[in-house]
């Protein structure tokens, strides 16, 4: 019997790579077309028990309720901020007031006192102002730019207000159009 000790002719086996590369490019094109870039999103939790839909059912809470009123111009822009009976000029001022209440500046723990905030907003107020108010009352970012210091975690909406009358809505739309035209110019 002849034993092959090597040194014979080698035959190179070539694998046809073309179909695999084709499939890979197809995959790349699919992924590239379906790629959608989204900015990160986060949540604000709000407390809305079912009973709070009817104002008569709201049971008096043991914690202090801070009532914040956000009034709107007919075009939906913010007209004024009121905390209790006190008128405030900006969300920064509201933030400072809430910070005093929460006792963070006097060394208290985060979210101290279990205070609750009730937002009372005009019907046509633009939603972005509500988020600004939530931003002002719920906390702030610490100096390290990472840690979030929570001030008030219980936030709820007050009783929904009625929409403005039809004639006011027309004026509001007109105002919004003028505002948009002004921004373009």
């Amino acid at each position: 019997m002849k034993i092959d000790k090597g040194g014979g002719d080698f035959q190179k086996i070539e694998i046809n790579m073309t179909p695999m590369i084709d499939a890979c490019f197809q995959l790349i094109i699919f992924f590239m077309l379906s790629l959608r870039v989204f900015s990160p999103e986060g949540d604000f939790g709000i407390t809305m028990p079912i009973a709070s839909t009817r104002p008569s059912d709201i049971s008096p809470s043991s914690s202090a309720v801070v009532k914040i009123r956000l009034a709107a111009h007919p075009n939906g822009n913010l007209a004024g901020i009121t905390m209790g009976d006190r008128k405030l000029s900006s969300f920064a001022q509201l933030h400072n007031q809430i910070r005093e209440i929460s006792g963070l500046d006097s060394g208290g723990p985060a979210g101290a006192g279990g205070a609750e905030v009730e937002l009372d907003c005009d019907y046509n107020l633009k939603y972005e102002y509500v988020v600004d108010a939530l931003n002002a009352v719920s906390g702030y970012v610490a100096n390290d730019k990472q840690t979030i210091i929570r001030m008030i975690e219980k936030i709820r909406f007050g009783r929904p207000r009625d929409p403005p009358p039809e004639e006011n809505q027309g004026a509001a739309q007109e105002g919004a159009k003028q505002e948009a035209a002004g921004e373009k110019n």
């Binding site: 070539e14 790579m17 695999m20 590369i21 890979c24 490019f25 995959l27 790349i28 992924f31 590239m32 379906s34 790629l35 959608r36 989204f38 900015s39 990160p40 999103e41 986060g42 949540d43 604000f44 939790g45 709000i46 809305m48 028990p49 079912i50 709070s52 839909t53 956000l70 709107a72 939906g76 907003c121 005009d122 019907y123 046509n124 107020l125 633009k126 939603y127 972005e128 102002y129 509500v130 988020v131 600004d132 939530l134 931003n135 719920s138 906390g139 702030y140 970012v141 730019k145 979030i148 909406f157 929904p160 207000r161 929409p163």
Partner: protein
Amino acid sequence: MRLHGKLTYSSSPDLTPLIDCTFQLVVFFLLTLNFSSAEQSELIRLPSSELAKPTEGALEMPITLQILSSGMVLFAGDQMTPDALQGALRRERDAIRNVLGRNIKNATIVIRADRDVATGVVQKIIRMCQDTDFERFVLRAKWERK
């Protein structure tokens, strides 16, 4: 004069680097693919906030309601008026109770509202959800460092 025959060369380029790069790209796109894009309509311009950091854990039974600046609602891929939403919410509630057999109080309504929509519309929709026995709500905002 003697004429030479035409010379032919067979070339086989090394495809290994090309395949390596291709696989790298495939893996990158696989990892960055966002399957939840159906719940993030590009029609909505969310208000921004630096406190709205992305939550680490997933919400339990999230139900996303997207409110356009016109006041229309996007729910489960359909665009509807707030009044038509009530029926869809009832169907969702019945499905959670009867099909999934879970408690409706554990479901979380995620509200993605456009920054220009009237707050009254958002409140009306929250109230509608409450009337359909939903209790947990979160308001979604775009995280933006200021």
